[in-house]
């Protein structure tokens, strides 16, 4: 059974804190993605990675960075959290081809106060 896990389901942080969101997949997928989901906006891509140590910016990378040191793990970092980063964060992984299914984790609901 394929699995994508995220380190926290709920997280509350203060403005200015550095925040780490972790994602692990057990499917040996090359590609991993970080999205944020906001009501009425669908899913917006923050960053993705197509290989270890490789990353590409998505549509809304500002205020975020990522790290992929191992194939199975993809981390999203909020360098200095702000209230407008309060959102649901979804991690996904995908095998090599563009037409393959993306598998999603359960999400992390982050609140920045």
């Amino acid at each position: 059974d394929v699995k994508v896990t995220q380190s926290s389901r709920y997280l509350v942080k203060r403005t200015g804190e550095k925040v780490f969101l972790e994602c692990v997949q057990d499917m040996d997928h090359e590609n991993m993605f970080w999205y944020r989901q906001d009501p009425g906006l669908g899913l917006r891509l923050i960053y993705f990675s197509y290989d270890v140590k490789m990353k590409e910016k998505g549509d809304i990378p500002e205020g975020y960075s990522v790290s992929r040191e191992k194939k199975e793990r993809f981390s999203l970092i909020l360098e200095s959290a702000s209230t407008n980063q309060t959102s649901m964060y979804l991690c996904a992984s995908r095998a090599g081809l563009a037409g393959d299914e993306q598998y999603f984790g359960p999400g992390t609901r982050l609140t920045v106060t």
Partner: protein, 111 residues
């Protein structure tokens, strides 16, 4: 820029009634098209996908979708909805390395 439009933010249907959720995509070569469902408190799950070939695609949970190139549409259908179908539904198209997502349609089921 490529885009995906789901014109209905909310749809309410009675249990047992038929369902159609609309999805339109912007111009491009034959796209990869997907429908995902997000049940309350859960991650997104793939319902079905279209790459090529037969334009009527069958998915899980009794859903199907029809690709219509002339209308740039990929509408999702189910002949008879169940209360457990209450969820948010997302249409997406493949674009190189990523998916372009619609804003989602929330399905509400009336008993």
């Amino acid at each position: 820029a490529q885009s995906v439009t789901q014109p209905d933010i909310h749809i309410t249907v009675s249990e047992g009634a038929s369902l159609e959720l609309r999805c339109n995509y912007s111009y491009g070569a034959t796209p990869y098209l997907f429908w995902y469902v997000q049940s309350p408190g859960q991650g997104l799950q793939l319902l079905l996908k279209y790459f090529s070939g037969d334009t009527l695609v069958q998915g899980i949970k009794g859903f199907e979708a029809e690709f219509k190139r002339s209308q740039s549409s990929f509408n999702l259908r189910k002949p008879s909805v169940h209360w457990s179908d209450a969820a948010e539904y997302f249409c997406a198209r493949g674009s190189n390395y990523q998916l372009i997502w619609g804003a989602g349609t929330k399905l509400i089921i009336k008993p």
